[in-house]
Symmetry: C2
Subunit: 197 residues, 2 copies
């Protein structure tokens, strides 16, 4: 009985995406064969290439999902009716929490970007930049208002913070002593403390 779902209840494309996400995060993009993905999803290559144009497409889809989620959340915090200090803190902490909650996607994102073909790479970079610029605008707003120090260019501040987010997949362990929210609060605090005039 083929019909979008199978053995379990989830549709095949989502099962493939989930399996690919896990395997890419575990072994990396290149070390994961299409065969392994379809086996983990309980289908065959025919099914995969029925829904996705290529192995690249699969990776791109993972990226798109993360990007969409993070942009939505950033917009939400940036548009809130709060003082700039609170909005930046909220956004800075939230990106940490959502990154930890999707550590697989995050590690794929930062480790496998260069496996994408040139045009898809450009597309992802453009969306990344949009995100970066929205975040930077928050820092600049605070600097104009005199709430944040202008000692460091806003660009560098943003890269500094995102560096730590990027780095999370390297050292954060879910079974460690700190909850995602605690880590997020600490990292946001470090950012805000660094920005004190």
């Amino acid at each position: 009985m083929p019909r979008t779902t199978d053995g379990d209840g989830t549709p095949v494309p989502q099962r493939l995406l989930a399996a690919a996400t896990r395997l890419f995060a575990e072994r990396g993009y290149d070390r994961t064969s299409v065969q392994e993905i379809v086996e983990a999803a309980g289908v065959t290559k025919g099914a995969l290439y029925h829904y996705f144009g290529s192995k690249d497409d699969l990776l791109h889809e993972v990226y798109a999902r993360v990007l969409r989620l993070q942009q939505e959340r950033l917009d939400h915090f940036a548009d809130a009716d709060e003082p700039i200090e609170k909005r930046l803190r909220g956004a800075a902490a939230d990106v940490v929490v959502t990154t930890i909650e999707n550590l697989d996607d995050a590690s794929i994102f930062f480790r496998s970007m260069h496996h994408l073909g040139p045009e898809k790479n450009k597309q992802v970079r453009a969306e990344r930049r949009r995100y970066h610029e929205r975040f930077r605008a928050l820092v600049e707003e605070g600097q104009r208002e005199g709430v944040f120090s202008t000692a460091t260019p806003a660009d560098l501040v943003v890269d500094y913070h995102f560096g730590s987010v990027h780095h999370l997949s390297t050292w954060y362990r879910p079974d460690g002593p700190l909850s995602p929210q605690e880590v997020a609060d600490h990292l946001a605090d470090l950012l805000l403390r660094a920005l004190r005039p």
Copy 2:
């Protein structure tokens, strides 16, 4: 005329290492074939497998070189006869400068770690941890002396800073407006400002 050196004056193993470093950084470990490496070095596979046991060995050798260099430099700054504030600032800025000056090695390091076999991976992680702990000790020393804030656990502070270092290869462009030293000063400044009591 086979004999440690060839066309140019540099010994074959070093030529292979240099070629591998450049190609790994450009295309990534998996996308670089052994054939490409030996062609770039002006030799053949026979030469490569005469000096290195495997492609993995090549990668491991690149890591070992970076690790050795960074550990040496950190020890130098940490052992200096200066107030803790100055020692930490020096170390924090120096790791940025040397990372920028060896951006190829750095991007390989952070992107290809997981390509190493299990035992070699463990070895690299152990050396990494040694480095991390030396750095953390500096932060803790300052915290004990009351020079640095204890609001954030030293571990997190170190990961925060290394995150930005890790991230450098993503955004730093040599033809950009900031020199390596300027970037380093700014990032070290951010760290020290975040640590103000």
